[in-house]
């Protein structure tokens, strides 16, 4: 939480002025009982209505000054808190953009979103409240005591006893109940879990007629929660009566001491009134302080969660190699001694004994992967769930870092590229077809900016740039087999896609994500099970179109369907993270057991043909 406070740096003035003005307001509030005392002791005792009138003007003036101070303070604290939160949100968002995939996996999307939204709001609220109240309340409490001392030292001793006593009661009860409330929350989570489980498993539970047992389980958790709540409730119910007794007991003491001192001529009647007034001010502020502490506690918890996110260091250190072409030349000269080139050609993608262990995982997800992909080749990757297909292709754009071995693109290890340069070479079509809210054009242009036409200032484009752009988009749509349905839309490329692409079918979304990758005109195209929502015919047309591209990229096709990868130049068969076979379809059918198993489970009729 402390680390977050740097975001208040730009609001130094506000953070100092806000509590200062609050204190000013409080000081004026502390003067009121003195004025009342004067009215009683001077105005009433001397029967001077004019004096009373003057004092009243003073009181109104104090009120007005207090109001002005307070409004000023509110403004400064609002400004500081809002500015703080804005900056924090910006930093947090920017930071999350830099996290590596494994860090994201660890944190989980849902919790990242919570950090960004409700946690930041809580912290903003906390900062606001602290600036407003954290100084004011103690100031009033101790100010009241100080004022009591100016009136009479003997009577002020009552304050000296009461303030610690009240503090012990208020904060003591809070200290006891806060952890208990956490347990109440845990109890609530428990019955929430039961309810959700009951709903998600409703078919199974009813099939096994478990309704009665579920009821019992729920009732058990429910009763436990109620008992816990009653217990905590009983403790916190003590707070109000006890503080009431203390403050009013102190009032009795003040009255008695006052009576003795007035009798002795040390104090006046008005002074006694003022003392009683100060006593009642203390209670109000202490209760406010207690509530404030709860808010602050929450804010600190949220702040710490945010702090934890910010403390995660960006997972990948970027290299410096900026452009592919430069890398080509430079790499060739720099690494002339490396035997990477086959027949004078550098492989576009090369895996050299690569292994991958996900952080926190016990076993390797990929073991000793070794292959080369040359210009224009198609690599098929097949294997069961969890066999490491996606892990393998994720290493190419450096979404994850190989834990052993080396992945090279154009002969340069991926870690030596800047991420942007590396990823510009690669078009990825992920398993899940994700499109963003916006027009189809905006979505397609995500990975690419055309000269003279940054995607977000649509006006500033030359017509030539626009034509070139349209041509590229058209080509991508044709290849990805999406031209037809895009043309069918009345707005064509300008059709709005709703959030999450809900207004498109699964197949349409998938084809558009393929088009989006093609617009980048990548050197490497990765299709991660991207044809699963397409029918066999479209799948085939797609593959043929990609193959026929002018600048044909290296294509990686990850699939569960044997049909999608049959014609690949090389098929890599993965089994439990290891290469179970590598070669063409015919070769694998001869010598790879895992491949046969997969193939025949999908084509049982073919079994006879080959063995025969």
């Amino acid at each position: 939480m402390k680390k977050l406070l740097v975001y208040l740096k730009d609001y130094k003035k506000e953070t100092v002025l806000a509590p200062l003005f609050k204190m000013l307001e409080a000081s004026f509030e502390l003067l009121i009982p003195i004025v009342v005392k004067l009215i009683v002791d001077v105005g009433i005792a001397n029967e001077a209505p004019r004096y009373v009138g003057r004092m009243c003007v003073v009181m109104i003036l104090l009120g007005v000054i207090g109001l002005v101070c307070s409004i000023t303070a509110q403004y400064f604290s609002a400004k500081a808190a809002v500015g703080f939160a804005t900056k924090l949100r910006h930093t947090l968002f920017a930071h999350m953009q830099k996290l590596s995939f494994s860090q994201m996996d660890k944190m989980g999307t849902a919790s990242m979103i919570t950090r960004m939204t409700s946690d930041v709001n809580q912290v903003q609220n906390g900062v606001n409240m602290v600036l407003r109240l954290f100084l004011r309340s103690p100031f009033i409490v101790f100010g009241a005591m100080a004022m009591a001392f100016t009136i009479d030292v003997g009577a002020a001793l009552v304050f000296v006893i009461v303030i610690p006593l009240l503090s012990v009661v208020v904060f003591g009860i809070m200290l006891i109940t806060i952890p208990l409330y956490k347990r109440v929350q845990a109890g609530l989570d428990k019955i929430l879990g039961i309810t959700r489980g009951n709903l998600t498993g409703v078919r199974v539970l009813r099939a096994f007629h478990k309704e009665e047992e579920e009821k019992k389980e729920f009732a058990g958790g429910n009763d436990k929660l109620t008992a816990m709540q009653m217990f905590v409730g009983r403790i916190s119910a003590v707070m109000n009566p006890v503080t009431y007794v203390i403050v009013n007991g102190a009032t009795i003491a003040l009255l008695w001491i006052g009576a003795v001192k007035v009798d002795g001529g040390i104090l006046t009647q008005g002074a006694v009134m003022a003392l009683v007034n100060y006593m009642s001010q203390i209670l109000v502020e202490l209760v406010k302080l207690a509530n404030l502490i709860i808010t602050v506690n929450k804010a600190i918890a949220c702040g710490n969660r945010i702090g934890n996110v910010l403390e995660i260091e960006a997972g990948l250190t970027e290299g410096t190699v900026e452009s592919g072409e430069a890398a080509d030349g430079k790499a060739q000269s720099d690494r002339a001694e490396e035997p990477a080139a086959i027949g004078g050609q550098i492989p576009v993608v090369e895996f050299a004994h690569v292994s991958l262990t996900y952080p926190g995982a016990g076993a390797e997800s990929l073991t000793d992967i070794h292959f080369k992909a040359m210009k224009g080749e198609t690599i098929g990757i097949i294997g069961g769930t969890g066999s490491g297909k996606t892990s393998l292709v994720n290493l190419i754009p450096r979404f994850y870092e190989a834990t052993a071995g080396c992945v090279k693109v154009d002969g340069v290890p991926v870690a030596e590229y800047s991420l942007r340069a590396l990823r510009e070479k690669i078009g990825v079509v992920p398993q899940k077809a994700v499109l963003f809210k916006g027009t189809i054009r905006e979505n397609l242009l995500m990975g690419r900016e055309f000269a003279g036409r940054p995607a977000d200032t649509a006006e500033g484009n030359t017509s030539a740039g626009k034509e070139a752009e349209d041509e590229i988009l058209r080509e991508a749509l044709e290849i990805s087999q999406s031209a037809e349905f895009v043309d069918d839309k009345p707005d064509g490329l300008e059709t709005q896609i709703s959030q999450g692409g809900k207004n498109l079918s699964g197949g349409q979304k998938q084809r558009l994500t393929i088009a989006r990758a093609l617009v980048k005109q990548p050197e490497i195209l990765i299709l991660d099970d991207s044809a699963s929502a397409l029918d066999y015919a479209t799948d085939l047309k797609l593959r043929r179109a990609i193959h026929g591209m002018k600048k044909a990229p290296v294509v990686f096709i990850v699939s569960q369907r044997a049909s999608s990868i049959l014609s690949a130049d090389t098929i890599i068969v993965l089994d439990d993270g290891e290469v179970a076979g590598m070669g063409t379809h015919e070769e694998l059918l001869q010598n790879c057991e895992v491949y046969q198993e997969i193939y025949y489970s999908q084509y049982p009729d073919k079994r006879g043909e080959v063995t025969a």
Binding site: I44, A78, Q97, Y244, N248, L255, V262
Partner: protein, 593 residues
């Protein structure tokens, strides 16, 4: 038009009244505590209000040196002590009573809601997202108890405080009271004014927040795509644009709404000053004593407080009533039709299943199944194939009686399933669904779900038969490994095997299997297939088929499309028909060249 909105308004009020009645029905069970609480509240407030009077009386006895009446002061202070003690006690009892009512009403409502969920038709549960129902049972009930029950006490004590203060004040001095009564509403007016003016700012703020959350959701939720396309900078600049706007709106909303407190405090200080002037002047004229003035000053301080609280209570009330209405809507939702009194208890069914003229649809406007006829002899295997959304799962829903047919009938062993108890009907089916569901609990608990008294030997035998024994053995605690909700630690295939083991243990005469293929690797798939085959021996089984082997071997294949059975027969017959089935079947080989 005015009348129309009036009508809507009064309907809304009637609805709220009805909700309130139901709330009272729940509270009624704790009427004793309620009465106790009300009495205590009255006592607490009265005594609290009595203290300033006593203080004033005491101050009147402390006039000047030599003019202090210690005997009376002592008497007054003793009285004060007793009053304080009583107040504290009744305050505590009141809180405890309120807690008792609040927490127990919440408990009762939750219990009723959960029990209702157990008998609600799946039609309702499927139509409502789980999250929504859960939030009704958990969050809405909480909000309701906070808002309504706490609101009640605040409202009640607030009203008594106001009335009590007025009563005491009028008794002491009419003039000063009038000053208080006249100035106080200004504070309410100011608060209302600020609230009205800031409403728009808050709306803007929450709209912008919503916009920002949507963007965060999209970008952070799909961070991997964002990074893959190097979209980070653009995402950040889009974010910043919204963030700047939010900062502006947020500053307005925060600042202007935070004016409420200082403003009302200022009005209160005006009230205080007013009391001071009129009181002091009246004291000079000998109208009231200084003690009475003290008393008035403290009244002036606390008189305005309940007003501010009450205005807050009303908005919470509305909110709480809305929550309550949602919960009651759930609790009062019509349950599944009751079983006839002499419903047959199906025992060891032979497995003859017949569907005759069955019609069914989830929404009346979209017909799904019409005039479906099917006779299955015992021990036969029925495969159901067809494209996604054709109604395959619906057949399961109807067979298990998760849904009731709209027309026609389904019978098992010649008895209409509506004449059979649900429990015994479902006991005769073993069901394995594509979406594997496991309960939070141990592996063993999950397996014995259908046969709670199974011995360890039986469990292990079933696990071996279902090919799950070997992986269960390798779990950290074997059969006693605790699985988190939905079996988080297990792979999809392992979960599927556990679900099969569950059915394998009780092996009912009829089976419903939804073959899952998409997310399971080939090795496990083969094991699952073997387990399925073993189970189906000699049992009537309905299989939603994805695998060719199932289809080829089935006694009857139902080819479904758009809710209709368009073809029916065995593999050979259907292929020779050269219809939709043949097309579907052959499409799998078209691209193999």
């Amino acid at each position: 038009m005015g009348r129309k909105t009036d009508g809507a308004e009064s309907a809304k009020q009637r609805g709220q009244l009805a909700t309130l009645k139901k709330v009272f029905h729940y509270i009624g069970k704790y009427w004793f505590f309620l009465i106790f609480s009300i009495v205590c509240a009255a006592v607490t407030v009265t005594l609290t209000l009595y203290i300033p009077i006593l203080t004033g009386d005491a101050i009147d006895c402390i006039i000047a040196p030599g003019k202090v009446d210690f005997t009376i002061i002592f008497r007054i202070l003793k009285k004060m002590g007793i009053v304080i003690g009583c107040t504290a006690l009744s305050q505590w009892v009141m809180s405890v009573c309120n807690n008792k009512i609040a927490y127990h009403v919440v408990r009762d409502i939750r219990r009723d809601a959960f029990e209702r969920i157990q008998i609600l038709p799946l039609k309702y549960l499927d139509a409502h997202p789980y999250g929504e129902i859960v939030s009704r049972v958990i969050a809405d009930v909480d909000q309701f108890s906070d808002g309504l029950i706490m609101g009640f006490t605040q409202l009640f004590t607030g009203v008594i405080t106001i009335l009590g203060t007025l009563f005491f004040m009028f008794r002491e001095n009419v003039g000063i009271t009038l000053v208080v009564v006249c100035i106080t509403p200004v504070s309410l007016f100011v608060a209302a004014f600020i609230a009205r003016r800031t409403y728009k700012m808050f709306k803007l703020q929450s709209e912008t927040r919503g916009e920002q959350t949507a963007l965060i959701d999209e970008m952070i939720g799909n961070q991997k795509v964002v990074q893959a396309f190097s979209y980070e900078d653009k995402a950040l600049s889009r974010f910043d644009e919204i963030n700047e706007r939010l900062a502006k709106y947020s500053l307005n909303a925060t600042f202007f709404s935070s004016l409420t407190n200082p403003s009302t405090r200022f009005v209160n200080s005006l009230v205080y000053t007013g009391v001071c002037v009129t009181g002091a002047l009246s004291a000079i004229r000998g109208g009231i004593s200084v003690g009475t003035l003290t008393c008035f000053l403290s009244y002036a301080n606390q008189y305005t407080k309940p007003f501010n609280e009450i205005s807050g209570v009303f908005t919470e009330f509305q909110n709480a009533l809305a929550c309550a209405a949602r919960i009651f809507a759930l609790i009062e939702e019509a349950p599944q039709p009751a079983e006839p009194e002499h419903a047959r208890v199906l025992k060891d069914a032979s497995g003859r299943v017949a569907l005759s003229h069955v019609a069914f649809s989830y929404v009346p406007e979209r017909k799904l199944i019409e005039d479906l006829n099917l006779r299955v002899e015992s021990g036969k295997r029925v495969a159901i194939v067809g494209p996604t959304g054709c109604g395959k799962t619906t057949i399961i829903n109807l067979l298990m009686r998760f849904y009731d047919v709209d027309a026609g009938s389904i019978s098992v062993d010649g008895t209409d399933i509506r004449e059979i108890t649900r429990k015994s009907l479902r006991e005769n089916y073993g069901m394995v669904l594509q979406e594997t569901w496991l309960k939070a609990g141990t592996v063993r608990e999950n397996i014995i779900m259908g046969k709670p008294d199974a011995t360890d030997e039986e469990v292990i035998a079933a696990a071996k038969a279902a090919h799950s024994h070997s992986f269960i053995k390798r779990l950290p605690e074997g059969y006693d490994t605790v699985l988190s909700e939905d079996g988080g630690e297990l792979s999809q295939g392992q979960k599927q095997l556990l679900c099969i083991t569950r059915v394998m243990l009780c092996l009912p005469p009829m089976l419903i299997l939804d073959e899952a293929t998409s997310s399971i690797d080939t090795r496990t798939e083969i094991r699952i297939q073997k387990a399925f085959a073993k189970m189906m021996e000699g049992r009537t089984s309905f299989v939603i088929a994805h695998r060719l082997s199932t289809i080829v071997d089935a006694d009857t294949i139902l080819v479904m499309k758009d809710g209709h059975i368009i073809e029916q027969g065995n593999h050979k017959e259907l292929l020779s028909q050269n219809g939709f089935y043949a097309e579907l079947y052959n499409s799998q080989f078209v691209m193999s060249e």
